[in-house]
Symmetry: none
């Protein structure tokens, strides 16, 4: 009896069935998803232990799925892809994938790679919770990482991509002071030459969208000469 849960994300039915029957015969629990949105939804709902991910999905690009999931989870992701180019592999691995198999793959190898992840999780689980909650709440602010939405007082905030990333970054590090350099690198990538001017503008707009007219408590604190910090709002 194996209690290990695998989320299989594959839109091609024959391959999906092949993986499913293989997992079943080896006593793995599994879930099936056929699109990127479905995958993200199931990942956040059921918190599987491992994910098999086909990159060629009908709705979202597979790499984007990886990035979205990595916003809140460190669950092992094994990519299964028809693309065998180096750039594809590197992009997926750097986006947060843990392994990359090219089609056609051997079922036995797939199982061996799965056992590697299993071993690794066993190693980790003694210490820490592996998967975070995919919903963040802080006072009137709520972020649903899986859905990619943020709410203030239950009302959805209309955020631009960078605003959302910035908000997530601050939320993930609630209570910590993040330096300008750290923030710009996380958001614009290491190539960018610390673009603090833009960061300030985004902070202004983000604050404007977050602040209640009444509730003047600013969730985002400025640390002059250092950076910014999101406060933990315990009052609610």
């Amino acid at each position: 009896m194996n209690k290990f849960g695998v989320l299989v994300v594959e839109d091609d039915a024959p391959i999906r069935n092949l993986i499913a029957t293989t997992l079943k015969t080896h006593d793995y629990k599994y879930l099936l998803a056929t699109s990127g949105e479905d995958a993200i939804m199931q990942a956040s709902t059921y918190s599987p232990d491992v994910m098999f991910l086909d990159l060629g999905l009908p709705d979202i690009d597979g790499v984007e799925v990886i990035k979205r999931i990595r916003e809140w989870s460190v669950m092992p992701i094994i990519v299964i892809s028809a693309r065998s180019e180096d750039e594809d592999k590197i992009e997926a691995l750097d986006a947060g994938a843990d392994d990359y198999l090219t089609k056609p793959f051997s079922v036995e190898e797939l199982l061996a790679r799965l056992r590697v992840m299993q071993r690794r999780i066993a190693l980790l689980q003694t210490d820490n919770e592996l998967i975070e909650n995919s919903v963040y709440v802080n006072g009137k602010l709520k972020i649903d990482f899986a859905a990619g939405c943020a709410y203030k007082d239950g009302e959805e905030l209309k955020l631009t991509p960078i605003e959302y990333k910035l908000l997530c970054l601050l939320a993930h590090n609630t209570g910590k002071v993040l330096t300008h350099k750290y923030i710009t690198q996380k958001i614009w990538g290491s190539a960018w030459d610390s673009n603090v001017a833009s960061l300030r503008v985004f902070m202004a707009t983000l604050r404007k969208k977050l602040n209640d007219d009444k509730d003047t408590t600013n969730l985002i604190q400025t640390h002059v000469g250092i950076g910014y910090r999101m406060l933990k709002n315990d009052s609610m």
Copy 2:
């Protein structure tokens, strides 16, 4: 500068050199081994962060090397092998390898796979650091280095960048007398020549913020003609 250490185990000189120069150009530290015994010896002596292992070694079989190392270490092992058969892969992975690349391999992919391991290690280390190492307590004073905040009696201190740096410097050297020159160099950089006047002002404000109205015990001691010292407060 990259402090990550890689042990490269490969008896074929050209490939070994290829990997070595690649690692060097990407600022990785590395060690070289050409046999299984050598690999095990170096792994135990230097505790590298990751190991690249060729399976075709002159003395011991590569899988045996993996098993021997797994008796005492969980360090990530990336196998690099000419054998592309499923059974070989499965045997190595089940013996304890974390990844398996077949020759000829792309250098870029190798680096991407290495980054995956690096990420995994970073994940473990930050967790451990957060729990153990990043909070300093001395009497009523507490410094959370990871969060970048300091507290007196649980209440957060509002410190300017230099004040905070100064406090951290003293805290990191609790019990030691630090000379004026040492402090100014650490805080303003080596260019600035003894900016002791400013230092005195900062000391005054820092002390004011640290001192309880009642509790006059001054944590920061002056050593006339020399510098300053933070005392260890055992009473609390």
